[in-house]
């Protein structure tokens, strides 16, 4: 619509004024951050000297079309009240001196009894150098948070997850993901949730940090 008359022109600032008055404050969704970044960065990258944080979200970076692409790559849709496009992701860029040496990123993943916070430390090639569950509520949480479980993810990259179906929780027999052992058979759903979280995390890192280099 083109507004050409004088009263119409006066309408535009008036509409802005009314909108500014009428629109309620917007609450942002909550993301997933390291509880103690100084300590955690040093633990995951002992050689690091500093880090920077980068805040991104699907809503801001590409909206619905990007969300659809991410869901397509994940093989599952974003679900529920809290897995939405406006979730802010905090990505930590890790430095040694002035050199970028890697990244840390965490995602919230719905678990059996609560939110699971799945963190990955990646090198510059997008290879997992550490897998870390910051928070998990389950009787067997200790086993899934054990470094021995996390070690199974070291060296994996996003292409390793290509054949993993998080909706069914099924890995291609003989694949590197199928080789990951669940240390807590009583917590199968949280084990699968951790795998989904890791795949989602890698996809988001590819989108926001690696410019989609792992897109098939």
């Amino acid at each position: 619509m083109t507004i050409t008359n004088r009263s119409g022109r006066a309408l535009v600032p008036a509409l802005f004024l009314i909108l500014a008055v009428v629109l309620p404050p917007l609450w942002a969704a909550v993301g997933c951050e390291l509880n103690d970044p100084d300590r955690d960065v040093k633990r995951l990258f002992p050689e690091s000297t500093s880090y920077q944080t980068l805040y991104v979200s699907i809503a801001r970076q590409g909206g619905d079309p990007l969300l659809k692409k991410i869901e397509g790559r994940l093989g599952d849709s974003f679900k529920g009240l809290f897995e939405t496009a406006d979730v802010p992701y905090t990505m930590y860029q890790i430095f040694k001196g002035t050199d970028l040496i890697g990244y840390i990123h965490g995602v919230n993943q719905k678990g059996q009894y609560g939110g699971i916070q799945v963190f990955l430390a990646l090198d510059l090639e997008g290879r997992i150098r550490a897998f870390y569950i910051q928070k998990l509520t389950n009787q067997s949480a200790k086993l899934l948070r054990d470094p021995a479980f996390g070690k199974q993810f070291v060296g994996l990259t996003l292409p390793d997850f290509d054949d993993y179906d998080p909706a069914a929780g099924r890995a291609e027999p003989g694949s590197r993901i199928a080789a990951i052992q669940n240390p807590a058979p009583g917590a199968e759903s949280d084990f699968k949730a951790a795998l989904r979280g890791a795949k989602k995390n890698l996809i988001l890192c590819d989108v926001f940090l690696f410019g989609g280099k792992f897109v098939k």
Partner: protein, 399 residues
């Protein structure tokens, strides 16, 4: 047949002769009437909204066992320790006081979760009475679900941020790891901007049983009657053994003084609006009288009595004020929402709910005030007109 022209008809036709001036005068009176109605509406709405907010505070006095943290944040700072308990027998002592409208018991418990963060963290649970707590906090709304289905069910209601952190939705389970007890989520609250956002609510009877604290509470919320003497009640509560009183009466008295300040401010502005309207009417009618000096002289020479001329001018004033008042009231009804939003933007603190309440009663009162102002403002011009001497007036043409 010869028709007789009434004085009212002349008054009405006079106004139509100078359409622009009449319209501007009506608009001026209309704006004053709008300001007046909106101010009265604001006065009414602001007080009622504040009272509602006070009501929504739920309880104005919180009674806890001496030394017991009464907020989850304080409990966390103390590392989940330091909880003190009161026996439920204290309810009878509280209810004895005539200032008390109702009470709601609460039980807070904290559990260490070793798998929360690198070195573990605390989860706090607030046991509430489903029969009294929701009624005291009617402003708590649900994004999903509702309060517990049964008073002793193993259900939980999560504040929005607690639900977001735990990625919980209605029907999901939460677990108290230390005790291996499961609760089913029955509701997720809408974000309220208060500490309720981070709270996990469970039925108090269930929590008492699960934590083996039967008949124990950590706090009692006390709602007092609207005009009750809170300070007097607090003094009486201090006499109970081993309790501390956390008062929110200061908040209430601050709010009430805000109401008084607002009233003084509103009536001062209303007075100014009335004076401006009055002067405007006097000016317009007087001008009209001076312009029609000769005409009034002719009317009188034709037999009109001074009281007829007085009535004619007064009628003009009343017509102007009635129309202006109606326009202003129309404005105030149509723009009440915008006025409300503008006031919200201008004032540093505004209560929730409608700030400007304009209703039929208020509209009629304003119209009455505007007409009375018109009658008063019209006295002098009408008196001047009634005093015109016909011969002097007719002669004044050539001067």
């Amino acid at each position: 047949m010869k028709s007789k022209i009434s004085i009212y008809e002349i008054a009405y036709k006079n106004l139509l002769r100078k359409k622009t001036r009449t319209l501007l005068t009506i608009l001026g009176i209309g704006l004053s009437a709008w300001v007046l109605t909106s101010l009265f509406g604001f006065n009414q709405g602001y007080e009622s909204a504040l009272n509602k907010d006070i009501d929504n505070m739920g309880f104005q006095v919180l009674l806890t066992a001496k030394g017991c943290p009464y907020e989850a944040a304080t409990l966390m700072l103390k590392g989940g320790t330091g909880l003190r308990y009161m026996n439920e027998a204290v309810f009878a002592d509280i209810l004895k006081n005539k200032e008390v409208e109702k009470i709601t018991p609460m039980l807070m418990q904290a559990v260490f979760d070793p798998n929360k963060g690198e070195s573990g963290g605390l989860n706090a649970y607030l046991g509430i009475d489903p029969a009294t707590y929701p009624a005291m906090k009617p402003f708590l709304k649900f994004t999903q679900g509702a309060w517990f289905t049964k008073p002793q069910s193993h259900e939980a209601v999560l504040g929005y941020e607690a639900a977001e952190l735990e990625q919980r939705e209605v029907g999901d389970k939460i677990l108290i790891p230390e005790k291996n007890i499961e609760y089913t989520v029955s509701g997720i609250l809408t974000r309220s901007g208060t500490q309720d956002d981070g709270t996990i609510f469970v039925p108090i009877r269930t929590l008492q049983k699960d934590f083996k604290q039967e008949e124990k509470v950590t706090a009692v919320g006390i709602k007092v009657w609207k005009d009750a003497d809170i300070t007097g009640l607090e003094n009486k509560l201090y006499e109970l053994p081993d309790v501390q009183v956390v008062s929110m009466s200061q908040v209430k008295s601050t709010i009430m003084s805000l109401v008084s300040t607002a009233k003084v401010m509103v009536f001062s502005i209303a007075l100014i609006a009335i004076l401006i309207a009055m002067l405007g009417v006097v000016n317009t009618i007087l001008m009209s009288v001076f312009e029609r000096f000769q005409e009034i002289g002719i009317i009188k020479s034709m037999g009109a009595m001074p009281q007829d001329v007085f009535r004619m001018i007064w009628t003009e004033t009343i017509i102007l004020c009635t129309l202006g008042g109606a326009v202003g009231i129309g404005f105030s009804f149509a723009l009440a929402r915008v006025t409300d939003l503008l006031i919200r933007r201008l004032l540093p603190y505004t209560p929730t709910g409608s700030l400007v309440i304009v209703n039929g009663k208020l509209a009629l009162a304003t119209l009455g005030i505007v007409i009375v102002i018109g009658l008063l403002a019209g006295i002098y011009p009408a008196w001047r007109a009634s005093r015109v001497r016909p011969l002097e007036a007719i002669r004044s043409e050539g001067e």
